[in-house]
C-alpha cells in the first residue's frame, strides 16, 4: 500500500495600483482594491467554492478516508474577510479532521532568504491568523514557493515544527526516491518531498493535448500511483489550489477528475494521509542534504523567477535595506505596507525569463511588461521610503529651537497676494490676514502649501504633520501659534 499526501497551496497576492512617480508623497493607497476584488471574486467562483464542495463531498463519501491539506496565506485570508462563506467552506473541511493546516509566512514572502528574524515574525503572524480564524495550531510548515535549504529546516524546527514540505528535486535526491519520509540535515525536521512528476501531471499537463498521456483519466492516474507499491510508501502530491478551476478550467474536466481519482486510488487499495499522519506512520529512511536553496519553480528549481534579474535585485535590496528603520520607527500601517511589498508575486511579475516567448506565465501577470511591474513597484517603494523618512524626522527632530529662526534668503514663502513669509512667527501672523481667495489658493483639497513649506523649508515635520489635513484658517493659525509657544519653551 502506498499513501497519497495531497497538499494544496491557497494564495492570492494583494496587487498594486498603477502608482505613478507623481503619486509619490501624495499619501495615496498602494493597493488596487478594485482589481483585487475582481480577481478574488473570479477565483472564488471558478475555483474555491466548487473545489471545496468536491473535497468535502469526497471526505464524507469515503467516510474520512480521503485526506487533503491546505496552506492559506495571510494575504489571502485578509482579502477573504469579506467573504465569510469562503472561509466557512475551508473551515468545514478542516473540521472533519481529515485535513492538516500547513503554516508558512503570512505575506507569502521570500524573507527566508533575506532575514531570518523577519521570516520568523511573519511565520508567527501566520500562526496567529490561523488560530484566530480556524482555531488550529499546526506542526507542519511550507515555505513560499517551497523554498528550502538546511538552515530553513533548522530554523522552523527550532520554532517547534516537526515537518517541512520541499521539492523532490533530483539533484538533491541523488538517485534516491522522493516517495519516503526524510530527515533534514542539521536538525530533526522531517522533510516531505514533492513527487513532482505526478504532481505536475495534474497541475500543468492535465489539459495539455500534445502530452502523450492526454487525456488523463482517474483510472490511469491511480494506476501510476499504485505502480509505486514496493518502491516507496508515500506519494506527495503538492500543487497550487488554483489548479482546480483556474489554471485548469472547468471545461478541461479537472473537477470530474478531482471527484474520481481519489476513489480510484482507494479502490486499488492505496490510501490518503495528511503530512502529520505521514511522519508518524513512516520513519525517515535517511538524511537529506539541501546545501543551497531549492524551490518548486521552473526547470531550474531555484529563485531565478523572483530574484535573478537586475530589476528584481534592485527592488529586493532596496526593500530589505529599509528593514531596520522600518521596524524601529514605523507605525503598524507602515510596517504592514512594507511587508505586503515583500509578497513574492511582485517580484515574479518583474521576471523577464519567459517574457519574449509569450509564455503562459503572462496569464497570471497583471502588468503588460515586467518593466511596468518594476517601475510601479519602485514608485511605491520610494513613497514608502519617504513616509519612513518623515516619521524618522518627526521622532528624531521633535523639538528644535532652530525651527523658529528665519529661513535662508530665497526660500521664503511668497503668497498669492504678495506677502513674503520668512519664519514661523511671520506665518502665524500672515495666516490671520488672508482673504478667502488667497487662503484657498494655498490650502485646498489638493494641497496645503503652508504645511509643505513647514516640512520642506523649515524642516519641522511635526508642525507640517499637524497642519496638513487642516482646511480652516483659524485652526491653522492656532496650530502654528501653539507650536511657536511649544518651541519657545525650550
Amino acid at each position: 500500500m502506498v499513501s497519497v499526501c495531497l497538499y494544496m497551496h491557497v494564495h492570492q497576492p494583494i496587487r498594486l495600483k498603477n502608482f505613478k512617480i507623481f503619486d509619490i508623497g501624495q499619501e495615496k493607497n498602494y493597493f488596487d482594491d478594485a482589481k483585487n476584488k475582481m480577481y478574488l471574486e473570479r477565483i472564488i467562483k471558478k475555483s474555491y467554492l466548487p473545489t471545496n464542495k468536491i473535497l468535502l463531498d469526497l471526505i464524507h463519501k469515503t467516510d474520512g478516508k480521503f485526506k487533503v491539506s491546505f496552506s492559506i496565506t495571510g494575504t489571502l485570508l485578509e482579502q477573504l474577510q469579506e467573504y465569510p462563506k469562503v472561509i466557512e467552506s475551508f473551515q468545514k473541511i478542516i473540521d472533519t479532521g481529515c485535513c492538516n493546516l500547513v503554516a508558512e509566512s503570512y505575506y507569502h514572502s521570500l524573507a527566508s532568504v533575506f532575514s531570518p528574524e523577519e521570516f520568523k515574525t511573519q511565520i508567527k503572524q501566520q500562526e496567529k491568523v490561523l488560530f484566530d480564524i480556524f482555531k488550529m495550531k499546526t506542526k507542519i510548515f511550507r515555505n513560499t514557493e517551497l523554498v528550502y535549504q538546511n538552515e530553513i529546516g533548522k530554523l522552523v524546527s527550532e520554532m517547534g515544527y516537526e515537518c517541512i514540505l520541499a521539492e523532490g528535486w533530483d539533484k538533491v535526491l541523488e538517485g534516491r526516491n522522493p516517495c519516503f519520509v526524510y530527515k533534514g540535515k542539521n536538525s530533526n525536521i522531517k522533510v516531505l518531498l514533492k513527487q513532482y512528476k505526478l504532481s505536475d501531471d495534474v497541475a500543468f499537463r492535465f489539459s495539455e493535448r500534445t502530452w502523450k498521456s492526454w487525456p488523463l483519466t482517474s483510472d490511469k492516474f491511480a494506476g501510476w500511483i499504485s505502480n509505486y507499491n514496493g518502491n516507496g510508501n508515500l506519494i506527495n502530491l503538492f500543487m497550487d489550489y488554483e489548479t482546480f478551476g483556474e489554471h485548469q478550467w472547468e471545461e478541461t474536466g479537472i473537477f470530474e477528475f478531482l471527484k474520481h481519482f481519489p476513489l480510484k486510488i482507494l479502490e486499488k487499495g492505496d490510501d490518503f494521509v495528511t503530512p502529520s499522519e505521514a511522519i508518524h506512520r513512516y520513519n525517515s529512511v535517511s538524511e537529506i542534504d539541501f546545501p543551497t536553496v531549492v524551490s518548486w519553480a521552473d526547470s531550474e528549481r531555484d529563485l531565478s523567477a523572483w530574484l535573478d534579474n537586475k530589476m528584481q535585485k534592485t527592488a529586493s535590496s532596496k526593500l530589505y535595506s529599509l528593514k531596520r528603520d522600518i521596524l524601529q520607527y514605523g507605525d503598524e500601517k507602515l510596517i504592514d505596507d512594507w511587508r505586503k511589498l515583500q509578497t513574492s508575486d511582485h517580484f515574479y511579475y518583474m521576471c523577464t525569463k519567459w517574457f519574449s516567448d509569450g509564455d503562459v506565465h503572462k496569464y497570471f501577470n497583471p502588468y503588460k511588461t515586467p518593466y511596468d511591474a518594476f517601475i510601479t513597484y519602485m514608485n511605491i517603494l520610494s513613497d514608502l521610503a519617504l513616509r519612513l523618512e518623515y516619521i524618522k524626522k518627526i521622532k528624531n527632530n521633535y523639538m528644535d529651537k532652530q525651527f523658529l529662526e528665519s529661513v535662508e534668503a530665497g526660500k521664503e514663502f511668497y503668497t498669492k497676494d504678495g506677502i513674503t513669509i520668512a519664519s514661523m512667527e511671520e506665518l502665524a501672523g500672515a495666516i490671520k490676514t488672508f482673504d478667502d481667495e488667497t487662503f484657498f489658493h494655498h490650502v485646498n483639497e489638493e494641497r496645503n502649501d503652508f504645511a509643505n513649506w513647514a516640512r520642506d523649508v523649515i524642516g519641522d515635520f511635526v508642525l507640517a504633520n499637524r497642519m496638513k489635513r487642516v482646511r480652516k484658517q483659524a485652526t491653522l493659525n492656532k496650530i502654528v501659534s501653539a507650536r511657536i509657544a511649544e518651541l519657545s519653551f525650550l
Binding site: K20, I21, N309, K313, T314, F355, S356, Y371
Partner: protein
C-alpha cells in the same frame, strides 16, 4: 525555388533618401540578391544625375527618374520645395509630377525583363498598375505607410483613391505590421487574405555597446521626422511634465520636418526652450552619436506603421518607449508601450526609467536577445516566398 527577376518601383534609395524608406529598400534589395534575385529598381531622384553611383552589386540596376518627388510630400510641401528654375522643368503640381513619374516609369519598365512587380507606397502604385496591365506580371504592393497614418484624419482623397485602386488591383499586399494590415482592412475594405505581414528589420550588430560618456544630465531622445503623425507635440508636452519634476533631464528632438518651427515655438511657449534641444536633420554619421548620447528613446507616434528607429535605439542599448499605435511593438516586446495622448503616463515612464537603476541594463540585454532573431535576410526569404507563390513556381 527559382531566382526571381524583380521590377521594383521605389521612392528613394541611398544616398538619395530622406526617410526610413530608402534604407528599407536598400537593405531589402541587398538581402534579396543574396537569394539570387535580380532587381531593377526605378526611383525618383532629385537633381541632375541619371546615373546613380551606388550600385551595391551587379544584381541591382537602378534607373533614376528626374523629379522632385520624395516620399513624404504633400501638395503644399511640394510647391514649397520648388524654386522657379525647377518649376519650369518639373510639373507644376504634385499630381502632374506623379503622372510624369508614372509615364516615364512605365516606359523604362518596357525595357526590363522581370517576373514580378514590387512597388513601395502610393506614389509608385499607378506605375505598378500600368506595368501590370502591359506585362501581365503579378503586382505586389508593399505598404510602409497609408494615407491614414500620414494625414492624422485629414485624408487626401486623391491619394486615398490611388491607394484604394492599387489595393484592389494588386495580386498581393505586403504590410510592414499587423497594425498596418488592420488599417488596410478597415479603411480600404481589402480582403485580409490578400495581405501578408512582413515586418521590417535592422542590420543587427550584437557587438554594439552604448559608448555613452558619463554626462551629468540624462538625455531623452525623439528621433524622426517632425510631422504631425509622429506625435512630436505629445513628446514636448510630456517633456514639460518631466522637467517640472526633475529639471536635470534634457530632451533632444532630432530630425527635420515641416512642423519643426511650430515645435520650437511650442517648447518656448511652455517655458522649456532651454531644456529641449532641436538638432535639425541629421547626417548618417551623426545618427550613431545621437543614439550614444541618449538614455531613453521615445517614439510617441499618433500612427506608426512600423517604427524602425525603435529597433535602432534598442540595438544601441537605449531603452525604448513606443506608442501603442505602432507596428514595431509586434517584434520588440522588451520595451515600454504608452498611448500617445497620455502624456502623464509618458512623463511617468520617462521619470521612472531614468530614476531606477537596473531597468536600462535589463531591458537592453533582453532587447538584444530579441534583435538577434530579426534580420533582413529572414525578411527577404519571406518576400521571396511571396514572389514564388505568385509567379507560379
Amino acid at each position: 525555388m527559382v531566382p526571381m527577376k524583380v521590377l521594383m518601383f521605389g521612392w528613394e534609395f541611398p544616398p538619395y533618401s530622406v526617410g526610413g524608406l530608402g534604407k528599407v529598400t536598400y537593405y531589402l534589395s541587398n538581402a534579396l540578391t543574396k537569394l539570387g534575385a535580380k532587381i531593377s529598381l526605378i526611383v525618383p531622384i532629385k537633381g541632375e544625375s541619371n546615373k546613380l553611383k551606388i550600385l551595391p552589386t551587379n544584381l541591382i540596376t537602378i534607373k533614376g527618374i528626374n523629379t522632385l518627388l520624395s516620399p513624404y510630400l504633400t501638395e503644399k510641401s511640394y510647391q514649397y520645395l520648388m524654386n522657379e528654375e525647377e518649376a519650369k522643368i518639373y510639373g507644376g503640381n504634385l499630381k502632374e509630377e506623379i503622372s510624369r513619374f508614372t509615364e516615364r516609369g512605365v516606359e523604362l519598365a518596357k525595357e526590363e525583363d522581370f517576373d514580378v512587380i514590387h512597388c513601395h507606397d502610393w506614389m509608385t502604385f499607378t506605375a505598378g498598375i500600368k506595368t501590370k496591365e502591359a506585362s501581365g506580371k503579378p503586382l505586389i504592393l508593399h505598404v510602409h505607410t497609408t494615407e491614414f497614418d500620414r494625414s492624422c484624419g485629414g485624408c487626401n482623397p486623391y491619394v486615398y483613391d490611388i491607394e484604394a485602386e492599387g489595393f484592389s488591383k494588386a495580386d498581393k499586399i505586403i504590410a510592414v505590421s499587423n497594425y498596418t494590415k488592420n488599417k488596410i482592412i478597415d479603411n480600404y475594405k481589402v480582403n485580409e487574405n490578400k495581405i501578408e505581414v512582413v515586418h521590417n528589420a535592422i542590420e543587427f550588430d550584437s557587438g554594439i555597446s552604448n559608448h555613452k560618456t558619463h554626462q551629468r544630465k540624462k538625455v531623452v531622445l525623439y528621433f524622426g521626422r517632425i510631422s504631425m503623425h509622429k506625435g512630436p507635440d505629445y513628446f514636448i508636452r510630456a517633456a514639460k511634465k518631466v522637467i517640472e519634476h526633475d529639471k536635470d533631464i534634457v530632451f533632444v528632438m532630432a530630425g527635420g520636418g515641416e512642423l519643426l518651427p511650430e515645435m520650437v515655438n511650442l517648447a518656448c511657449d511652455l517655458g522649456i526652450g532651454d531644456k529641449l534641444l532641436f538638432t535639425g536633420r541629421l547626417k548618417d554619421e551623426e545618427v550613431k552619436d545621437i543614439y550614444n548620447s541618449a538614455d531613453l528613446y521615445v517614439l510617441p507616434s499618433v500612427s506608426e506603421p512600423f517604427g524602425i528607429t525603435a529597433l535602432e535605439a534598442a540595438s544601441n542599448r537605449v531603452p525604448v518607449i513606443v506608442s501603442n499605435n505602432s507596428g514595431v511593438k509586434e517584434v520588440l516586446s522588451n520595451c515600454f508601450t504608452v498611448d500617445f495622448w497620455d502624456t502623464d503616463e509618458m512623463a511617468n515612464k520617462v521619470l521612472s526609467i531614468l530614476k531606477y537603476s537596473g531597468i536600462k541594463e535589463e531591458m537592453s540585454n533582453n532587447a538584444h536577445k530579441e534583435l538577434k532573431n530579426i534580420s533582413w535576410d529572414k525578411r527577404a526569404a519571406e518576400i521571396n516566398n511571396i514572389y514564388n507563390s505568385l509567379s507560379g513556381n
